[in-house]
């Protein structure tokens, strides 16, 4: 009787181990998948902001003999539309404007692309910009955070770790190309 119980216990432990390993493997693959997708979306965030800056530079260059001859503000500012404080959350779509007034962090797959179309989603992206310097020396630090859980108000470099299901990237943009 004792031998039968022992054999049963060994068999049960063995089977539960296998099931546990399968579950762990499945979950790890899912986490890796989220991490890679989030990394690409974070990189996309800074690229989209760079594109806004580059197009502002193009506008200034195209109008340097006209509207931008005596003005460096508004549309003639390479950082037109940027938030200078660093505390405001901004969002940007691949085909939309840089929105710091009514940002929407949630990303949903719409028409084959991740877009800020809904209020919930698997991924959330927030962009923050912080300025320093003046005139031609003005530069912006652009930070793009992506999480795969609702971020609340936690998005900052100290909080944004893979432990918290978050990745971020940053770049510096100057007032010249």
């Amino acid at each position: 009787m004792g031998e039968a119980i022992l054999a049963g216990a060994v068999l049960t432990i063995g089977m539960f181990s296998v099931i546990g390993l399968i579950t762990f493997s499945y979950r790890t693959t899912g986490d890796t998948q989220d991490l890679i997708i989030a990394s690409e979306l974070a990189q996309e965030g800074v690229e989209l902001v760079r594109n806004v800056r580059d197009n502002n530079l193009v506008y200034r260059e195209k109008n340097k003999a006209g509207a931008c001859a005596s003005s460096t503000a508004g549309l003639c500012d390479p950082f037109n539309g940027f938030d200078s404080g660093g505390n405001i959350r901004c969002s940007i779509d691949y085909d939309g404007p840089f929105d710091c007034a009514n940002p929407n962090p949630a990303l949903q797959l719409t028409g084959g692309f991740y877009q800020h179309t809904g209020t919930t989603g698997r991924y959330y992206r927030v962009i923050k910009t912080i300025s320093s310097g003046l005139g031609i020396d003005t530069r912006y630090r652009v930070q793009s955070f992506v999480t795969w859980q609702d971020p609340g108000n936690n998005l900052n470099p100290a909080w944004c770790t893979t432990f918290n299901k978050c990745v971020y990237t940053e770049l510096f943009l100057t007032a010249w190309k």
């Binding site: 693959t29 890796t32 193009v58």
Partner: protein, 206 residues
């Protein structure tokens, strides 16, 4: 020495085996347990294979995304191929002096195919205009094929192209390319997406 009748009976009783019913019951229990074990291991192995396949596709898709992004960043966009299929993009990469094309949904097998048109390196026509002329006028052929960046597993793809236009033109802009690649299990598909802001400032006139 002779054993007494009582001792002989006791010895025989101690050597008695299992009854037929006991053996059948034990076999039945053993069979049921083994079938369960085989079922669990089979399911586990299938899940392992699927996970490994997904992991490989994920790594390939990330590799392809990064290669494409790196090449697009230093390029001017021609547009789609001559056939106008929307999941294809042709461009001239200044950093490599190459006319490159990508087919994000290669016919039938869910692969991502890369082409590079074979201009001679010494050719004086090796520029964006020549690349545009070639891509617009010709279907990319097997001779142009570099190979598959992802050989299978892609279930969907999308590209959004905004071409750069020179400052002298109306509506001058710096272009960007957004592309997404979908792969993975039917029950839980995954989409990898990124955007590249073009750096073809010389073409734009910045």
């Amino acid at each position: 020495m002779m054993l007494s009748s009582h001792n002989r009976k006791a010895s025989l009783s101690a050597r008695q085996g299992f009854t037929l019913i006991e053996v059948v019951a034990a076999l039945a229990v053993f069979t049921i347990i083994m079938m369960a074990v085989i079922q669990i291991f089979g399911t586990g192995f299938k899940a392992y294979r699927q996970t490994r396949e997904l992991q490989r596709t994920l790594e390939s898709a990330q590799f392809a995304t990064n290669i494409m992004a790196k090449e697009l960043r230093t390029s001017s966009i021609v547009g789609s191929f001559s056939d106008g299929v929307s999941t294809r993009v042709a461009f001239f990469d200044y950093s490599q002096n190459r006319c490159i094309g990508y087919n994000l949904n290669a016919a039938g097998n869910g692969g991502l195919l890369k082409y590079a048109h074979g201009f001679a390196l010494s050719s004086p026509d090796l520029n964006f205009a020549a690349c545009s002329a070639y891509a617009v006028a010709n279907a990319w052929t097997a001779a142009d094929r570099v190979g598959f960046l992802v050989s299978r597993g892609i279930t969907g793809s999308s590209i959004s192209i905004v071409r750069s236009t020179p400052i002298a033109s109306a509506g001058s802009i710096v272009g960007k390319v957004t592309f997404s690649i979908t792969f993975g299990w039917t029950s839980r598909p995954a989409t990898l997406q990124t955007t590249v802001s073009l750096r073809d400032f010389n073409y734009v006139g910045l």
